[in-house]
């Protein structure tokens, strides 16, 4: 038994490594090809631009990864993002002297409340995540429209300091990138080196045995969705500050991009596995695609199909690799 477990963990590490190397290779190959077609791709300015554009996506992917690790999915984050962005934009509009830090805090808290609500519904009543978040997505989206009265908050109504969140820099790095890096470091520590972090994986890989071994599944589920909500709230403020406009339909459908980044990054949709380094690469790949396709004169109308195709190829490759590894395992075990 012990041998089997050991063996399994050994191989899953191998798969993860292989996946990440493959993904990294693909990213490099793509970058080189794009660079050959258009030399302005690899300039510092463009790379900075690209990473800034990917920052929000990668912040959200961290939360989504935790959710998917617990076998869930969160379709409501686009709506949570819009709601918190809208409320903080309206607050800033009403009080132009507000410190931007307060706006960020407010947005995060709103997102956290939204997430906690979803978490409670999922953990306490056993509503499947896809249904609960689908419903809440409608609710939050509706609330956003109602609060704003269908109007936009546009750039001239926001204070300079609020718009400055996305354009300012800390230690020479753009604030968005800085926040993303901080979040990555914090969550890397959280999921790999704290008890609660490991419990998230335990709940994801086998909920029943997690329960038997004394983990409070409900608490973990609540926690995961609350984190997701908080990150979505934070991303909402950053989004509104970056695009200098808050609309009712902000980030509609963005949840799919986030899920795609996770899936590309090797997060297993069936739960239990997923690594921070993987989703960095996943988000980066999507960011590069968004940035590079216009640079090499691909019509914007092709981008969607190309993105979908790459996601499909990535998940299928993942499945095939896993299959061959499993088959090798069987052969190895027989001997």
């Amino acid at each position: 038994m012990a041998e089997k477990v050991l063996n399994k963990s050994f191989n899953s590490i191998n798969i993860a490594k292989f996946r990440e190397l493959g993904l990294l290779g693909f990213i490099l190959l793509l970058s080189i090809m794009v660079q050959l077609r258009n030399s302005s791709f690899m300039t510092l300015e463009n790379i900075d631009d690209m990473i800034t554009n990917t920052a929000i996506l990668s912040i959200l992917s961290v939360g989504m990864m935790l959710v998917i690790v617990t076998r869930g999915i969160d379709l409501s984050i686009g709506a949570t993002l819009a709601l918190s962005g809208m409320i903080s934009a309206l607050t800033v509009k009403a009080n132009p002297d507000l410190h931007p830090l307060f706006a960020i805090l407010l947005g995060t808290l709103i997102g956290m409340a939204c997430g906690a609500l979803i978490g409670l519904v999922i953990a306490k009543t056993g509503v499947p995540p896809i249904i609960a978040t689908l419903g809440m997505m409608n609710v939050f989206r509706g609330l956003t429209f109602m609060i704003s009265g269908g109007k936009w908050v546009s750039a001239h109504q926001m204070s300079v300091s609020f718009k400055g969140i996305a354009t300012s820099s800390i230690f020479g790095i753009n604030t968005l990138i800085f926040i993303a890096i901080v979040i990555y470091v914090v969550f890397y520590y959280f999921i790999n080196h704290t008890r609660t972090g490991r419990q998230i994986y335990a709940v994801g890989s086998n909920p029943e045995s997690a329960k038997i071994s004394g983990i409070n599944n409900e608490k973990i589920l609540c926690l995961v969705y609350t984190i997701m909500g908080a990150l979505a709230g934070l991303a909402g403020v950053l989004w509104v500050s970056k695009f200098a406009s808050a609309q009712g339909d902000t980030a509609m459908g963005f949840e799919l991009n986030v899920i795609a980044a996770c899936v590309l990054g090797g997060v297993n949709i069936a739960g239990g596995s997923g690594k921070i380094s993987g989703i960095v690469l996943g988000a980066l790949l999507l960011g590069i695609l968004n940035n590079a396709l216009p640079l090499i004169n691909v019509s914007p109308f092709w981008q969607m199909a190309i993105q979908g195709g790459i996601i499909l190829i990535a998940v299928i490759t993942n499945a095939l690799v896993k299959r061959s590894v499993d088959r090798n395992n069987l052969i190895w075990r027989k001997i």
């Binding site: 249904i131 689908l134 419903g135 509706g142 949709i269 499945a319």
Partner: protein
């Protein structure tokens, strides 16, 4: 462990429970109609109510096969994109000189092909959940629609094509008649044929179904292909109503459809539910939308109501279920 419990429960109270659920839906439906009647004096007019069905029945065609998909404990979120793709292909091929009748057949073929592809991918790659497969095909199908038509609209259909979405047969909207026919066919398929029983069996326990000789893969592919086909039917009626089509047509339909199915008492964990529940909930949501629309309730409030309905529809039976299980544990311990 959990599955065992569900199956053991099934013999005891499932029948009576779902009997209740459908009645609850009917009750809710009646309540909504009464409220609507009180809110607006224009509501209770048979002619207007019949006309109102024309506005929401287009997506109802997808609800029927989606019931099968969700009974299989799968999900298909690519339906809206399939609608868009088949509508766009139809419009473009008609405008390239293909006769309309042939264009309609092409539309149905494209939808069927999309569904078949979904089914094939799901069956061939069992490691991938239906969510992820249909998520990526959703992006791909919509993407292809954008490649074909870019940001243009395409239309100028012949006059008779309008009949699908706007026509009447004996005072009854044509779309309602077609829907009724499809509903009967799907109802018979689900509740009166071995195919339907096998779908239920697979939803309850796919491994046991495979061992008892059901061709699991074949049935799954058929169900997803049916979903694609019905999405194309929706595309036909939707395009006819709108007069032209765009690549971003039908966005958000997948959510509406899934909401209707789940509200109809079809459990997203599979194996449970009846087609009648879903059909009642189509009309429930449709009339709710129509009635509140008469009162100028903003569409956003409707979003909230439908979202909450969706969650509560799933939550209430779960609460009951947990409560019973809890009671049983108390008794045995």
């Amino acid at each position: 462990m959990k599955e065992k419990n569900i199956i053991a429960k099934k013999e005891f109270n499932l029948k009576s429970f779902f009997f209740q659920w459908e009645w609850m839906l009917v009750l809710l439906f009646v309540v909504i109609n009464i409220i609507n009647t009180f809110l607006s004096p224009y509501y209770l007019d048979p002619k207007k109510l019949l006309d109102a069905t024309m506005t929401f029945l287009d997506k109802a065609f997808i609800v029927l096969p989606m019931v099968f998909v969700i009974i299989l404990a799968d999900i298909d979120i690519s339906v809206a994109s399939t609608v868009a793709l088949s509508a766009v292909v139809m419009a473009v091929s008609y405008n390239l000189g293909v006769p309309m009748a042939l264009a309609i057949i092409i539309c149905l073929l494209v939808g069927t092909l999309c569904g078949f592809l979904n089914g094939l991918l799901i069956v061939k790659f069992k490691e991938l959940s239906a969510v992820i497969v249909t998520l990526s095909t959703m992006i791909i199908y919509r993407g292809i629609a954008y490649i074909i038509l870019e940001d243009q609209a395409s239309g100028k259909f012949p006059a008779w094509y309008k009949f699908l979405g706007w026509g009447y047969v004996g005072g009854i909207p044509f779309i309602l008649i077609v829907f009724a026919v499809f509903a009967v066919v799907f109802g018979l398929l689900l509740h009166k044929t071995t195919f339907g029983r096998r779908v239920y069996a697979m939803g309850n326990n796919i491994t046991a179904s495979r061992f008892s000789g059901i061709q699991v893969d074949k049935i799954k592919v058929i169900v997803f292909t049916l979903t694609g086909f019905m999405s194309a039917v929706t595309a036909l009626f939707l395009t006819s109503r709108m007069g032209s089509t765009r690549p971003n047509v039908a966005s958000g339909y997948e959510l509406d459809v899934i909401a209707m199915v789940v509200l109809g008492g079809i459990s997203s964990t599979g194996g449970k539910g009846k087609l009648t529940g879903a059909i009642i909930s189509i009309f429930l949501i449709g009339f709710l939308r129509y009635g509140l629309g008469l009162k100028n309730v903003p569409a956003q409030a409707l979003l909230i109501i439908i979202g909450l309905l969706l969650i509560f529809a799933v939550m209430i039976p779960n609460l009951k279920f947990n409560f019973k299980k809890w009671g049983k544990v108390q008794k045995t311990s």
